[in-house]
């Protein structure tokens, strides 16, 4: 069986006559956990949107070798403060990836229950989404992803506005999904230190892919040289 889940070849993306992504090529194997970092406006979110098919490449190729994709876009939690829906109602939406017109059976509700248990929100199932904290809301989205039984989970800056302790817990949860539930994960993040402990692969993107490899190598090859140069100048 092909171990590749994603293959990108010479990808270019142009937005309003300006290249946002240039010549991106890499391959991702199943059960990897890829953390993508880079400055603001470096094309991270655009890359994720291209992978999930919300945008079309200007040039190049993207091959995703699975249909079971779950995508959690970047957002401000305040967007939901008026949305009248319970935690359970939102998580249940994930089951629609098995068919848009279906009657929910016992199996569906078992999946929803166990997903809520994995993310530690079982007792919040009947709460309104907006009554939860930012960190809890993100875990609701993870539960929604879990019930869709994804092979590839893609998250865009999921921990924005969440305190450090809950960020760490959140990444531990993702680590569990990756190692124990065998879900391939791609995450875009600002905080290098928190994602480094869980990811298996790290990428540094700034219009071009400047680095992709093991987190350890990233620190040795990319991060420290920059810091040293800067401290010498200072």
């Amino acid at each position: 069986m092909n171990n590749k889940i994603l293959e990108i070849k010479n990808l270019y993306f142009c937005y309003r006559d300006e290249f946002v992504l240039e010549d991106i090529s890499f391959t991702l194997n199943r059960e990897e956990f890829l953390g993508i970092i880079g400055p603001n406006g470096s094309g991270k979110s655009t890359l994720l949107k291209l992978i999930v098919g919300l945008l079309k490449p200007t040039k190049g190729e993207i091959n995703v070798y699975t249909k079971r994709i779950s995508y959690i876009p970047q957002r401000v939690t305040s967007l939901y403060h008026l949305f009248p829906a319970t935690v359970e109602e939102i998580v249940a939406l994930g089951r629609l990836s098995d068919g848009i017109v279906r009657r929910f059976k016992g199996e569906d509700y078992e999946l929803i229950n166990s997903a809520l248990e994995v993310v530690g929100l079982l007792e919040f199932r009947d709460k309104k989404l907006s009554e939860l904290s930012g960190g809890q809301q993100q875990r609701v989205h993870i539960a929604r992803a879990i019930v869709s039984k994804p092979e590839l989970l893609i998250l865009d800056e999921p921990t924005t506005g969440i305190d450090v302790i809950n960020q760490t817990k959140f990444y531990e949860l993702l680590g569990h999904l990756n190692r124990d539930m065998h879900i391939t994960i791609i995450i875009v993040s600002h905080d290098i230190s928190t994602i480094a402990s869980e990811v298996t692969t790290m990428a540094y993107l700034d219009k071009r892919l400047h680095f992709i490899g093991k987190p350890g190598d990233f620190f040795k090859k990319v991060l420290w040289p920059i810091d040293i140069e800067e401290s010498l100048r200072g």
């Binding site: 949107k49 999930v52 098919g53 919300l54 249909k67 994709i69 779950s70 995508y71 959690i72 876009p73 008026l82 949305f83 009248p84 829906a85 319970t86 109602e89 939102i90 249940a92 939406l93 994930g94 629609l96 990836s97 848009i100 017109v101 009947d126 709460k127 309104k128 009554e131 989205h141 929604r144 869709s148 893609i154």
Partner: protein, 256 residues
Amino acid sequence: MQYALINGILIGVLCPLIGVFLVLKNLSLIADGVAHFSFGGIALGIVVGISPNITILLFSIMGGLLVNYIIRRSKLYGDTAIAILLSTGLAIGITIISIAKGTNFNINSYLFGSLLAVDRGELIFALCFGLLVIILTLVFYRSLLYITFDEDSAKASGLPVEILDNLLVFVSAITVAITIRIAGILLASALIVIPVAAGMQISKSFKGTLKSSVSIGVTSVIVGLFLSYYLNIAPGGAIVLVNILIFLLTLSRLFH
């Protein structure tokens, strides 16, 4: 009155049912745009000699799908696209009517709604299309909720988002067309928006919001129609005023 009452209860159910999705998608005004656009249809129907019921329905569906297309494809905000649609329909309607001077047609009953306008044939027409809207909405209930809540995630999970979105606009347009007969062009959209706004104040689940909005919609239609009948006032105005009263009640501390 009996026909009007049955028709009224039907729109009391339909409007909030699709209104929940429109309001939460920030498309509250699309119903208003569609209703105004159908004014062109009414005028055309009268001049050409086709029943306005049919031209209202055709113009509503056409207008809804057109505005949805413009919103998705053009570099315009949704409300700008709706404003263009709304004016286009009114302009067509006014022009046609001014050309066809002398028709002894009561345009007021379409603008403000009318109880007497509902005869047996119209009721059957409304019931058939109303049933279609209810069935489609209930069958695709969760999918419509998904695209309302998070369109990008839904699309990434493989849901046919554009088809579902057009389906929502399609059932909304039918609902507006049915509602115009009783509530009138000017107030049809109020029945789609206000019961939902009230329902959102008192419910915390989506299902709860749906149920309370429909209850509020039906209640205000029944009360409004009786007021209209006994006080001899325009049904659209009476229904919407009752609706607003309920909305104000839900805002008050009574429910908190």
